[in-house]
């Protein structure tokens, strides 16, 4: 018993060690550059793949093995430098969401690059030389390598501590974390500092990845799996705080280790619940501080949105008329794409509603899409409810979830709010994934078919057109209604909005819930057109799909999300048909977009 507990605590420490290595790099990079680097998980994955290649190709022995680990870390550090020099350096002044998207573009490119170089299969590396065995603690076995990993974690923490306390580079990094403009005014070239920090942070991620090779197989899912956990560690610890990252990694490692013993069903949920709880009590994390000088703002100040001009109305009416006639002539495949586009438009419009007029960021909007889809599908599966009733239930389920999650999210701002929305989406995703008896887990729920009258594709296309465009239209009306005016007022200035009697928190909260409800409707429709639901409906990729549509269209235009949804869904569809490397192409397009058209496609049109 005692041995079991000790081993459990030690394996918690071992996972805390690797989590700390990844999170330390992420937090240091954020502290100095203020970039939330989604690609950090990709650097971790690259480290693992490079570590595997070096470990399998170099001769056996202590020196080649550990030399390979260090070499992998250095190479990944250099990759980080290249990304910083070519991409991030150009967008340090862009709004945070664009930076996030750009780094997500890097994630997609790295995923396909890894697939292309190393192939789709899981790779098993050799064990570390001389560390195959186990030690016995009160009769319980504990892998020797994990013990070494704990030691490495502690050693790296101490080295980083020395670096930040005792060297000029470290002092400059800490100063820049607090106030980088002042550091520049004192004659420090920030570019060198940023590049240096990127090297350090990326190399740490690479080191963590390479150190995983003897423990587990290397695969293409490592990047997003680790980045979600690393975000939690960094946010719980406080963005930019190294001791905070260490503390949070310890906390999380132990929680996962003992969570498996106590609540094996909800280990994934537990992690994100703790994060939500910490953020509500301490909005800047355990050891974090409110950022000074440069407040985290996620929107650009734009001229007020205007209703459509008469010409715009005419164009919209003609487009709508054509769309309504299209099901009469189009083939089934085209109608499926059209239905998907309609669902995407509603989904993008709901996300735009909170981001544009609301001024809030959501990194987990897929949660409400997915909860709507699952709400409808579960009614069908467990209660054999008819489609009409299930479709009605979808927005209710998502709206209630929006009220519950939104209550927390609207209390935070900037990156922290975005991270909290992501945490809630991960909670929803983990529930669908782990609660196999109720949700079917990874296999999803199949057989969510519409009744006979709604099976023909034209009927589905018309249904989607009416419900989705109707929903988007209602949202649009709301933006111009008094509620929308209040929403936009609090976005532009919370203080001034409060001064004229607007309850800003409640306004944001209701907007969040309304958007969630409509996203749920989109999800419910999607479930019936596909005939099934899966946990992927609420994963990070789907949330970023929504973000891409909104940003592609331009955040501060009302027609933006519609254009963005059509463009993105069309592009996605075409890429899937044309090339196996569609992720890389998509990633490259995202990067190019952020670099060259930071106002989105609709903004481009408006400018000319």
């Amino acid at each position: 018993m005692l041995g079991n507990l000790a081993v459990q605590a030690l394996s918690g420490l071992a996972s805390a060690a690797s989590l700390f290595l990844v999170a330390a790099g992420l937090t240091v990079i954020f502290g100095v550059t203020r970039i939330v680097n989604f690609a950090h998980g990709s650097f971790y994955m690259l480290g693992a793949y490079l570590g595997w290649t070096l470990a399998t190709n170099l001769p056996r022995g202590h020196v080649p093995f550990w030399g390979g680990v260090v070499l992998a870390a250095v190479i990944v550090g250099l990759v980080g430098v290249v990304v910083e020099l070519l991409l991030l350096r150009r967008i340090y002044k862009a709004p945070e969401l664009f930076q996030l998207l750009a780094t997500f573009g890097v994630v997609l490119v790295v995923q396909d690059a890894a697939l292309w170089i190393w192939g789709p299969q899981d790779l098993l590396g050799p064990r570390a030389p001389g560390l195959r065995g186990a030690v016995y603690i009160f009769d319980s076995r504990f892998p020797l390598y994990d013990l070494v990993l704990i030691g490495i974690g502690i050693a790296v923490f101490l080295l980083l501590w020395l670096l930040f306390q005792r060297t000029r580079f470290g002092i400059l990094v800490r100063a820049a974390t607090a106030d980088r403009e002042m550091v520049g005014a004192l004659g420090v070239n920030q570019r060198l500092l940023f590049t240096g920090v990127f090297f350090l942070g990326s190399a740490l991620a690479g080191l963590a990845g390479a150190l995983q090779v003897p423990r587990e197989s290397v695969n293409l899912q490592m990047d997003l799996a680790i980045i979600a956990e690393a975000f939690v560690v960094v946010v719980v610890g406080g963005l930019g705080s190294l001791p905070g990252a260490a503390l949070a990694a310890l906390l999380l490692g132990q929680m996962q280790a003992f969570g498996i013993l106590v609540f094996p069903q909800i280990t994934l949920v537990l992690v994100f619940l703790v994060m939500a709880a910490v953020l509500v009590v301490r909005p800047y994390g355990l050891l974090g501080r409110a950022p000074a000088g440069h407040a985290a703002s996620l929107h650009i100040v734009e001229p007020p949105i205007a209703p459509l001009s008469p010409r715009g109305r005419l164009v919209a009416a003609v487009a709508l008329g054509l769309a309504m006639l299209a099901p009469l002539v189009l083939a089934d495949y085209a109608l499926v794409v059209m239905t998907e586009i309609c669902v995407a438009i509603l989904f993008a419009a709901t996300l735009h509603f909170i981001m544009g007029p609301g001024g809030m960021a959501s990194f987990g909007h897929a949660a409400y899409f997915g909860i709507g889809a699952y709400g409808a599908a579960l009614l069908v599966k467990h209660l054999a409810a008819p489609m009409e009733l299930s479709l009605l239930a979808a927005p209710f389920a998502a709206g209630i979830a929006g009220l519950a999650f939104g209550w927390f999210c609207v209390r935070l701002s900037g990156v922290y709010a975005a991270m909290l929305t992501m945490a809630f989406a991960q909670i929803a995703w983990s529930t669908a994934f782990q609660w196999v008896a109720f949700t079917g887990g990874d296999n999803g729920i199949l057989g969510v078919w519409p009744p006979a009258w709604a099976v023909p594709k034209p009927v589905q296309a018309w249904g989607a057109l009416v419900l989705c465009l109707g929903g988007a239209f209602l949202l649009r009306r709301m933006i111009f209604a008094p509620f929308g005016a209040a929403l936009r007022a609090q976005r532009d200035s919370v203080l001034r909005a409060e001064a004229i009697g607007i309850d800003t928190m409640r306004t944001r909260w209701f907007a969040f819930a309304i958007a969630a409800a409509f996203a749920g409707l989109a999800g419910g429709l999607f479930a019936f057109t596909k005939g099934s639901v899966f946990p992927t409906y609420m994963n990070i990729s789907r949330s970023t799909d929504g973000l891409l549509m909104v940003l592609l269209g331009g955040v501060q235009t009302v027609t933006g999300p519609i254009i963005g949804a059509i463009a993105y869904t069309g592009l996605h569809e075409q890429l899937l048909r044309l090339t196996d490397l569609w992720r890389a192409v998509l990633g490259a397009i995202i990067i190019a977009l952020v670099l060259f058209f930071p106002r989105g496609l609709a903004g481009l049109g408006a400018k000319q």
């Binding site: 100063a175 607090a178 002042m182 005014a185 004192l186 004659g187 420090v188 000074a292 100040v301």
Partner: protein, 233 residues
């Protein structure tokens, strides 16, 4: 030494500087006087490159520096002490000074921690204290010391007396004059007339983003009418 000609700057659409011209000669303290919101701090920031000037020229040691990045301006020997002080709160006093340290400049006696402590003796006893746990006066001394560690030829001092107790203001005035006596050139912005008259050699008055008067401090002392028009609240 520092010559600003017809400098314009905007914050968004607001036209803050509407043609500021001034001249600081080697070894003198030039005081930029003006009421709250007249454009004193923005002038300093525009010279430093922290607010990009929209038009006009800034010449330092005979070289144009408008359009350079703040770190390049600083490296050419222009030190900047911000009004808000911007001490790195979690760094110790010694570390704050280290952030400011730059290579010695040819022909100038290099600044060291010891030399800074000689000018501001109270810093010597608190080198290990975090910057966030100091009084306003101590933080002001630290920011000036931090800038001096960069071995500047000219220092932009933005309202050094703001929010300080009268005793500390006196000490600050002594320190500023001592710096001038060692050969440092200083452009000092101030709305506290009593502080300004004690340290300034020459002065300019800024009003609504433009210079409305300039001359020697003696001339300003003698001109009650100008002072009444531009400086009294």
């Amino acid at each position: 030494m520092l010559r600003v000609t017809e400098l314009h700057a905007h914050y968004g659409r607001a036209h803050i500087l509407q043609g500021v011209s001034l001249h600081v000669r080697p070894g003198e303290i030039h005081v930029l006087l003006g009421r709250n919101g007249a454009g004193k701090s923005t002038t300093m920031k525009a010279v430093m490159g922290l607010v990009p000037p929209t038009s006009g020229g800034v010449e330092f040691l005979g070289q144009p520096i408008a359009g350079l990045e703040p770190f390049e301006v600083a490296r050419r020997g222009l030190g900047y002490v911000p009004e808000e002080r911007r001490v790195f709160a979690e760094l110790s006093v010694a570390e704050n000074l280290e952030v400011g340290r730059r290579r010695p400049r040819e022909g100038l006696a290099p600044w060291t921690v010891e030399r800074v402590c000689a000018v501001f003796p109270s810093l010597a006893a608190m080198l290990k204290r975090p910057g966030g746990r100091m009084s306003g006066g101590e933080q002001q001394m630290l920011t000036i010391g931090r800038t001096l560690m960069g071995n500047p030829c000219l220092v932009l001092l933005d309202e050094p007396s703001e929010g300080l107790a009268p005793v500390i203001v006196d000490r600050m005035a002594e320190a500023v004059r001592a710096l001038r006596d060692e050969g440092m050139s200083i452009l000092l912005s101030e709305q506290n007339w009593h502080f300004a008259r004690r340290v300034g050699d020459t002065a300019s008055i800024i009003e609504k983003g433009a210079i409305v008067w300039h001359g020697t401090m003696q001339a300003l002392l003698a001109d009650d009418e100008v002072r009444a028009r531009y400086l009294t609240v």
